[in-house]
């Protein structure tokens, strides 16, 4: 292994390890891409593919991301973008959960869907896509519906759960499991031009509060559908939150919900104060 470290160091320039050298080390020392990336980061080398993360994310933080495991529950509109961004960010392990296959009506927005992947399991498409864009990232595909029965098992060892579900009842089950298992949850939901994001730390009940009037069924997404851009916006906000949780930096969307209206280009923040009730901060 020392030999491999020397090799990586020799091929690095200004602390940056080129992808070609990482691949050469993989071949020469019989490493996996993940092992080569770990070795580089542990020895203070920044894989050059992440060089634009630099000064925003330090080598130590990049290593922290690499050692992190994030579950993405739902691999459709939100989940596709969430997985894409987590993999490019350099989160080392992604658990991708979804029971469905791609259908034609997914093509207008779900980034993992193409005419060629119609009929293919969404989690398989996620696995293939991540292997293509960042082979150092491990994806565990789970072609199953997330629920109370399998939830604890699926979230074992996970540092953050990203909600990319399309069902309010499953979301509430995810919130319940995350609360009991002590896992931070980043909640996102979309419908037409509209979406919202919130972060729920263990012990919080923000998601339960958001849906406290819900009885059954779906929201406005049932009538409006979802266009190409709304999932990308909300998914990106979710990944920013997940990144901050993993790195323990910045100000989280905790005890508050960001509601976004892309038709009128309005952003409203609704505060879910701990001491009873919620508060509308700036809904003008």
């Amino acid at each position: 292994m020392e030999e491999a470290v020397t090799f990586l160091k020799d091929w690095s320039r200004d602390g940056l390890l080129p992808w070609s050298a990482q691949c050469a080390a993989v071949k020469r020392f019989g490493l996996t891409q993940a092992a080569a990336e770990a070795l580089a980061l542990e020895n203070g080398l920044f894989p050059a593919r992440y060089q634009r993360n630099r000064n925003m994310i330090s080598t130590q933080e990049q290593l922290k991301l690499f050692r992190s495991k994030v579950a993405v529950i739902g691999c459709g509109g939100l989940g596709g973008y969430v997985i894409e961004e987590l993999a490019r960010l350099g989160v080392g392990h992604i658990v991708a959960i979804d029971p469905d296959i791609f259908e034609e009506h997914n093509l207008n927005r779900q980034i993992l869907s193409t005419p060629a992947t119609l009929g293919k399991a969404k989690v398989e498409a996620a696995l293939d896509r991540v292997a293509e864009i960042n082979p150092a990232v491990t994806v565990t595909p789970v072609k199953d519906a997330f629920c109370l029965v399998n939830g604890y098992e699926l979230l074992a060892g996970v540092q953050v759960a990203v909600d990319a579900l399309d069902s309010i009842s499953y979301r509430l089950e995810l919130a319940e499991i995350c609360g009991t298992a002590g896992i931070p949850m980043v909640h996102g939901a979309i419908g037409g031009w509209y979406g919202h994001v919130a972060t729920q730390m263990p012990g919080d009940t923000t998601v339960q509060n958001i849906y406290r009037h819900w009885v059954a069924g779906k929201g406005i997404e049932q009538q409006l559908g979802n266009p190409a851009f709304t999932p990308a916006v909300i998914a990106s906000l979710e990944v920013a939150e997940a990144c901050k949780i993993l790195l323990g930096k910045g100000e989280l969307l905790r005890d508050r919900k960001l509601s976004i209206d892309l038709l009128e280009m309005e952003v409203h923040e609704i505060s879910y104060k701990k001491a009873g009730g919620i508060e509308l901060v700036d809904a003008a």
Partner: protein, 74 residues
């Protein structure tokens, strides 16, 4: 009594963003929701004067009622 009603997202379609209404004393949130042609199942969030409101809550003079639709897609 005078009450300010604020609507968000799809609730604005064919209605308004903000409107002042003269309502009989003791009117509750549910009555306003139904008078707007909305159903209880469509309601996501009810805010009354910046705090969480309930459908059976009674409104008072100068109250500000904000209604958001349910959003749950992914």
């Amino acid at each position: 009594m005078q009450v300010t009603i604020k609507l968000f997202a799809t609730f604005r379609n064919g209605r308004f963003k903000i409107e002042q209404r003269e309502l009989p004393e003791e009117t509750d949130v549910r009555t306003v929701v139904l008078s707007l042609g909305l159903t209880e199942a469509e309601i996501g969030i009810i805010m009354l004067n910046g705090r969480h409101g309930e459908l059976d809550q009674k409104l008072k003079e100068n109250d500000i009622l904000s209604l958001f639709p349910l959003v749950g897609g992914g």
